[in-house]
């Protein structure tokens, strides 16, 4: 492996030719589940206090993809969420805006309008989210449409059906086509780790997605019972670390699904800091996708600053 094996990009945006990508993915190092889970849990025991905690909470906001992905999402809901994204706490200008909002394609124009002039980016799920088993052309068309409507970032899903059937080349091909369809938009590939059955598969899926040119790999859709877990995130971080060592490409990590508390967010930050280092501690390379996390982070910031907790009604619901 190494840079020599990398194909010239030319017209395609994939980082590797399909055969090379499949070879990389199927020759990943084995993962020992017991050891991985132990390490992930051990890093959850780091005691992050005072200024170190405030730094983490501020970073958690700056790395947050504020998300709503429901059938009942309306322009009104998205307008409110965008306001929260720009100014998480209207009474406190020291609280930074979040990294992005994450929504369905139909609502992209609303978000684009609401976020104009701010640093908050618009991320759209696309490509047949959350399952990704519709016709490929339709899924690619959805990705292109989201980008045309102004999405800066696109969150797509890996075809788990192809991967689990052993059709690595097929799964890769779809990702490479999605990469092209997304063009210059930031591409996040959701592996849906809760459906892959083993950490070995998580690692294979991560390598396939990175080889196809993903800017980020993302744990979960949030649409099945299992979301991000510290161990699955750590497994992906280790894959990212090896990918950088082998190819020089830095790929981002997004954890999503079930991240509701500041404590969980800090745990993921510790995982990324002690696995990938300080370079990943920024929104360009780390994101947390969540709908309910922001208020808990705000609550913890006030607690840390004042020594007292405030009631939930002091934080706006959007």
């Amino acid at each position: 492996m190494g840079r020599a094996a990398e194909i010239e990009r030319g017209a395609g945006l994939a980082r590797y030719a399909p055969r090379e990508a499949v070879r990389l993915a199927t020759r990943t190092a084995a993962v020992d589940a017991v050891g991985l889970e132990e390490r992930a849990a051990a890093l959850g025991k780091r005691s992050i206090k005072r200024e170190a905690k405030l730094f983490a909470l501020d970073l958690a906001i700056r790395c947050m993809d504020l998300t709503t992905l429901e059938g009942v999402d309306t322009p009104g809901k998205v307008v409110a969420m965008c306001a929260k994204a720009r100014r998480p706490d209207p009474s406190d200008p020291s609280i930074p805006p979040v990294a992005a909002v994450c929504i369905y394609p139909q609502l992209v124009p609303v978000a684009v309008r609401e976020l104009r002039g701010s640093s908050v980016r618009v991320a759209s799920v696309a490509g047949g989210f959350p399952v990704g088993l519709g016709p490929l052309e339709a899924r690619l068309a959805e990705i292109r449409a989201a980008v045309e409507m102004g999405a800066d970032e696109v969150d797509i899903v890996l075809n788990r059906s192809r991967l689990l059937a052993g059709d690595y080349a097929g799964a890769f091909e779809e990702l490479a086509r999605a990469r092209e369809a997304a063009g210059e938009a930031h591409l996040k590939v959701i592996l849906e780790t809760g459906e892959l059955g083993s950490y070995d598969r998580v690692r294979q899926a991560a390598v396939l997605a990175m080889a196809a040119g993903a800017d980020f790999i993302k744990t979960s859709t949030g649409k099945i019972g299992v979301g991000a877990t510290p161990a699955s995130a750590l497994c992906m971080m280790e894959a990212v670390r090896d990918f950088e060592a082998e190819t020089g490409h830095r790929v981002g990590i997004k954890v999503a699904g079930g991240v509701r508390t500041a404590k969980q967010a800090v745990h993921y930050l510790v995982l990324i800091y002690e696995t990938l280092g300080g370079a990943w501690m920024r929104p360009e390379l780390f994101r947390i996708g969540a709908s309910g996390l922001l208020n808990d982070v705000l609550m913890q910031i006030y607690k840390e600053r004042t020594g007292r907790y405030q009631g939930p009604d002091y934080f706006t619901i959007d």
Partner: protein, 509 residues
């Protein structure tokens, strides 16, 4: 990153520019100090001897100072037992055995063991902080490993106390009498539990002598034992220098059994001195364990296993994985990953909850580590140590790797008992077995491979009392632990751990 900002060029160009931006080194996140409070520990100014259920001043009228190795600050004065004190303690134990313990039903003995176990859990934070203060190990280890495991040993052996006939069907297990138990400084409380729990469960009484640099948790355990209302004299704790006090204790004619954990050097002295005395002896001594990484191993988890194997408890572990054997085809990768991982280890204040590596227990041990590391450099091995600041006072040593190590180097043969790893390579499983077994010791070994059949093939051939597969330094009270060759004999833990404290054919009764 504003929305109006992106200049729309060709996609490829855009991605390349973004990746250039991503090459920045990034932030440094300093974890704020997270110090466990030592308020919970109420140190006495001076500790006496615990003999016959009471605290006695030593006849020697002498004390010695015990310190915090992380700061060299004195913690307390501790009684120095003389020959007369040792005699008092052994006689108290012998009297208690005959009058109050030998014939007590097993379920009654179990009751006391359960009480001790529960008290250890209830006072776990106090024990953890005191252990860290007196030993120098990180609080996360004393809190998550030493104290919970010590309680688990008492719980486990409490369960055996009324089932000894079932443990040895067709035999007539009877206790031996007074057990002299001498423990080391690396796991002060845990080793007391390993010694006391099986001895008491089987109906023996004990005179325990903790290591002279780390007596405080053993003395706190004596307090707990007193509060648990254990009949007086069943457990006695005496303190003093290893050579003299320990020597008198082992040599006492009323002692029926000697259990020692410590250095091979002292183990040999003890074995010679006890030859022909009729006393039972178990020795748990040094080690130079092989941790063997095959090319198909789960590499990232193996890295954690290597780190845990040699840096857990600053490497002051008799079963530490101090010789790393890596299959040559992955040696470069493993060494690179290991070096990167070393830079994330947090060395410093043992009471800080985020500390990974604490202080070396005592000055003599630090000097021994320094001497062996010097020999490694002189013999031509290549040293690697990560950058890290060390506190000015106290006994500290950086986590250290040696590459280009030959089997003939002292650092590959002698037990260092510190955070120093010697890395060697092998080509075939046969060679791994041959090199791993080519040592005077035989306490433990680790095997890392995804191939189940190879684990079994290797385990069969390892001359080591414990063989771990895809893990390292994992302990459980139900699992026997002990060595081959110069690592000693006898097993502690599990059903096997009952045997050294029993006359299985009822002769002693």
């Amino acid at each position: 990153m504003g929305k109006d900002e992106p200049a729309r060029g060709s996609g490829g160009e855009q991605i390349r520019r973004r990746e250039a931006d991503l090459a920045e080194p990034g932030v440094r996140w300093d974890y704020a100090p997270a110090r466990e409070s030592r308020e919970i520990v109420r140190l006495r100014e001076r500790y006496d001897l615990f003999v016959g259920g009471r605290w006695l001043e030593p006849k020697t009228e002498r004390t010695f100072t015990t310190i915090d190795p992380a700061t060299e600050e004195p913690l307390a004065e501790v009684a120095e037992a003389g020959e007369e004190d040792v005699d008092l303690a052994v006689r108290a134990a012998a009297e208690a055995w005959e009058a109050r313990w030998r014939d007590l039903p097993g379920r009654e003995r179990a009751k006391y063991l359960y009480r001790i176990a529960r008290a250890l859990q209830e006072r776990s934070r106090e024990f953890a902080v005191l252990e860290t203060l007196n030993n120098g190990k990180p609080i996360k280890e004393s809190r998550d490993v030493d104290v919970p495991l010590a309680a688990a040993h008492f719980f486990y052996y409490a369960g055996w106390a009324d089932k000894l006939e079932y443990a040895f069907p067709g035999r007539r297990p009877r206790p031996l009498g007074v057990a002299a138990q001498i423990t080391p400084w690396n796991f002060p409380l845990l080793m007391c539990a390993w010694k006391l729990a099986p001895a008491l469960a089987t109906g023996n009484t004990a005179v325990l002598k903790p290591a002279s640099t780390t007596p405080l948790t053993a003395l706190l355990l004596a307090e707990v034992i007193q509060e648990a209302d254990l009949p007086p004299g069943v457990v006695n704790v005496i303190t003093g220098p290893g050579g003299r006090t320990g020597g008198w204790l082992a040599a006492h004619p009323a002692v029926a059994k000697v259990a020692f954990t410590g250095s091979t050097e002292i183990g040999k002295v003890l074995r010679r001195s006890l030859a022909g005395s009729g006393k039972r002896l178990t020795l748990e001594l040094g080690g130079k364990a092989a941790n063997i990484i095959f090319e198909d191993a789960p590499i990232d988890q193996a890295i954690e296993g290597i780190v845990n194997g040699i840096f857990f408890n600053q490497g002051e572990v008799c079963c530490a994985g101090s010789r790393l054997f890596v299959q040559e085809s992955v040696a470069e990768l493993v060494i690179a990953k290991l070096k990167a991982r070393l830079s994330t280890l947090r060395v410093g204040d043992p009471l800080d909850k985020n500390t990974d590596i604490g202080a070396i227990n005592n000055r003599a041990q630090l000097a021994k580590i320094q001497e062996l590391v010097r020999s490694g450099i002189e013999e031509g091995a290549e040293i690697y140590q990560p950058e890290c600041e060390l506190p000015e006072r106290g006994f500290w040593f950086r986590p250290t790797l040696f590459t280009n190590v030959a089997m003939s180097h002292r650092i590959a043969r002698e037990e260092i008992f510190g955070p120093v790893l010697s890395i060697l390579t092998f080509r075939t499983p046969e060679e791994a077995v041959e090199k791993a077994n080519n040592t005077a010791y035989g306490l433990s070994a680790g095997i890392w491979t995804e191939k189940g059949s190879r684990i079994l093939w290797m385990a069969e051939r390892m001359k080591a009392g414990v063989v771990w597969a895809n893990t390292f330094n994992r302990f459980d009270p139900s699992s026997p632990f002990g060595g081959y060759k110069e690592s000693g004999f006898g097993r502690e833990g599990g059903r096997h751990g009952l045997e050294p404290y029993l006359d299985l054919d009822g002769g002693a009764a």
